[in-house]
Structures are given as structure tokens and as C-alpha cells.
């Protein structure tokens, strides 16, 4: 008797998806879409754009499922696809020029004075947010980020370092909202 989908490992699901299994791919979407959507928002995408890019990333992943051989995790693989798609989309979109000029925004805390990562990320400048989320969210190395966003390696390292320093400072100043009660709308 076939195992229920929820008991299958990502690698098994990816192999079945590569053979055209829609239900198996649906299970992968169910497992990983929140992380992908969250990553894209942390990278600075607006909600609608983030969801659009996340859907494109999953469509692309379905096409390329056969290329996923389980060397890393499926989650890391799909996040890298999504991050690269977002960067490509962003570079095409002239409107981003206006967005990247935005300075940091004061993050908000909830009634209990707690702040989650997404709120703390809002306190970073756009390049810092992008570099930190590409590094820690999508798992790209500094040279990969430099190549992807066309910035010098030293600048990327500075953005990551400054971004992390700001995150630490902000998260330490307000207790972290654990358990991810952070419903993102």
C-alpha cells in the first residue's frame, strides 16, 4: 500500500513530481510555500509581487524537478530559485529604482512590545535587507550575492554585517515574538 503523501520525504516527492505527479508536487508546495513567500517578503517584495514570484518559482521547480537530486534540501533549492527569479524580475522593473532609494523604516512592535524578524527586517535599508535575506534566507554565499545583484563583494559583506548588527540590536531591544504568531497577510 502506498504511503500517504505527508509521510514521504521531499526527495521522494520531488522524484514523483518529476514524473508528472501533481498531487506530490502539491504536497511540496504545501510544505514549502510559506518559507518561500516569507523569504520574498523579507527580500523587500510587496505581498502581491512576492506571491506572484513564489508561484512562478514553483512552476519553474515543477518543470525542473528532475534536476533536484537531493544534494541539499528541497526547501533551500526552491528558495534559491525564488530569490533569483525575484532579482531578475526586480532588475526588469524600473519601479524598483524608486523603492531602493527608500531609507530604513522604524519597525513596529505589538501590544506586548514584541517584535518578529519580519518587523525587525523593516528597519534595514533595502540593500541591507536584500543582502541579509539572500545570505541567511536563501542561503547564497557572499560571492553569489555579489554576482546576482551586481555589487562588489566588499559592499555585499558590509551590507550583510551592518544588517545583522541592526537586526541583533533591534531584536535585543524588544523581546522576540517566538512561535511565529506572526501571521503575514
Amino acid at each position: 500500500m502506498a504511503k500517504p503523501l505527508r509521510d514521504l520525504h521531499d526527495v521522494e516527492l520531488a522524484a514523483l513530481s518529476a514524473a508528472g505527479g501533481r498531487r506530490e508536487f502539491g504536497e511540496l508546495v504545501r510544505r514549502h510555500s510559506p518559507a518561500v513567500r516569507g523569504l520574498l517578503r523579507r527580500m523587500g517584495a510587496q505581498a502581491a509581487l512576492a506571491d506572484d514570484v513564489a508561484q512562478d518559482a514553483f512552476l519553474l521547480a515543477f518543470e525542473k524537478c528532475a534536476e533536484f537530486r537531493g544534494e541539499g534540501t528541497f526547501g533551500a533549492w526552491i528558495k534559491r530559485i525564488a530569490a533569483r527569479l525575484y532579482l531578475k524580475r526586480r532588475s526588469k522593473d524600473a519601479r524598483y529604482v524608486a523603492e531602493i532609494e527608500n531609507d530604513e523604516v522604524a519597525p513596529s512592535v505589538d501590544s506586548a512590545g514584541r517584535m518578529d524578524l519580519d518587523e525587525a527586517m523593516k528597519g534595514l535599508t533595502e540593500p541591507e535587507r536584500l543582502c541579509v535575506s539572500l545570505c541567511h534566507g536563501a542561503g547564497l554565499s557572499h560571492p553569489e550575492i555579489a554576482a546576482a545583484i551586481n555589487l562588489p563583494l566588499g559592499t555585499v559583506k558590509s551590507h550583510v554585517k551592518r544588517g545583522l548588527d541592526k537586526l541583533r540590536a533591534r531584536l535585543q531591544s524588544a523581546p522576540v515574538a517566538h512561535g511565529s504568531a506572526s501571521h503575514v497577510g
Binding site: 501533481r22 502539491g26 510555500s33 510559506p34 512552476l59 535575506s133 545570505c135 531584536l171
Partner: protein, 141 residues
């Protein structure tokens, strides 16, 4: 990532996926897109196959017709060659030759090939280009 940038607490926060109240809608929208893309691809490949098939059948019928007419004319002792086909071959050869000229490959003499061979070679190249285009299109969708 350098050692001083590694922060287990930050790593844990990044590893935790936020929860979205509209996850079900997201998954449904994605499934619909997947179905649409698959349906469109099937349709595009079917249409390409149909068009290719129609062209192939038409060409085969054309060849038969010209062969038949040449056989008739040969038996009547008037025209020794299948004119329609050789004219098409000559046209294709001229077009290919002008393309080669434009590409600076004037030295390559296409007229050395027979008219029929030239016609089929050109048709083959066009069909291959069309097939490559369809495959590329289907990969991009």
C-alpha cells in the same frame, strides 16, 4: 558567511517560516496555473504537430502529383522533368544562396545540388527550426 556573522538565534529566526492565513488560496491558484500551463502546452504541441502533419501530407501529395504528371508527360514525350518540384527546388536554392551570400559564404555553391535535394534540405531545415521554436516556447511557458 564569516564566523562573526554566524548567529544561531538569527539563523533560527530565518529558518522559521511565517504562517499565512491565505495558504489554501495560494496553493489553489498555483494548481490552477499549473493546469493552465499544461493545457496550453498540450494544445500548442498538438497544433504544431497538426500543422507539421498537414504540411508533410500536402508535400507528399504534391510530389506524387508531380511525379504522376511527369510520368504522363514523359509517356507523351513532351516534358522530361517534374517541373513543379524542380521549380520549387530552384526557388529554395536561390533563397538559400542569397542568404549564404549575405552571410559572406558566397563560395558555397548551392546550385551544385539537385533541385529536389535542395528543396527537401531547405524544408528539413525549416521544419527543424519550427520544431526548435516550439520546444523553446513550451519550455518558457
Amino acid at each position: 558567511m564569516s564566523v562573526d556573522e554566524f548567529d544561531p538565534a538569527i539563523e533560527r529566526l530565518f529558518a522559521r517560516a511565517p504562517s499565512f492565513p491565505d495558504s489554501a488560496q495560494f496553493e489553489a491558484a498555483l494548481a490552477a496555473k499549473l493546469n493552465t500551463s499544461s493545457r496550453f502546452r498540450t494544445m500548442a504541441l498538438s497544433v504544431a504537430g497538426l500543422v507539421g502533419g498537414v504540411i508533410a501530407v500536402r508535400e507528399v501529395l504534391n510530389v506524387d502529383f508531380n511525379f504522376a504528371s511527369s510520368a504522363v508527360s514523359a509517356s507523351a514525350g513532351s516534358q522530361p522533368a517534374p517541373q513543379g518540384l524542380s521549380m520549387a527546388g530552384v526557388d529554395a536554392a536561390q533563397a538559400a544562396q542569397s542568404l549564404l551570400d549575405r552571410l559572406g559564404l558566397t563560395g558555397l555553391d548551392m546550385s551544385a545540388m539537385g533541385g529536389m535535394q535542395m528543396f527537401w534540405a531547405t524544408a528539413g531545415v525549416l521544419v527543424a527550426l519550427l520544431a526548435a521554436g516550439v520546444v523553446k516556447l513550451s519550455q518558457e511557458i
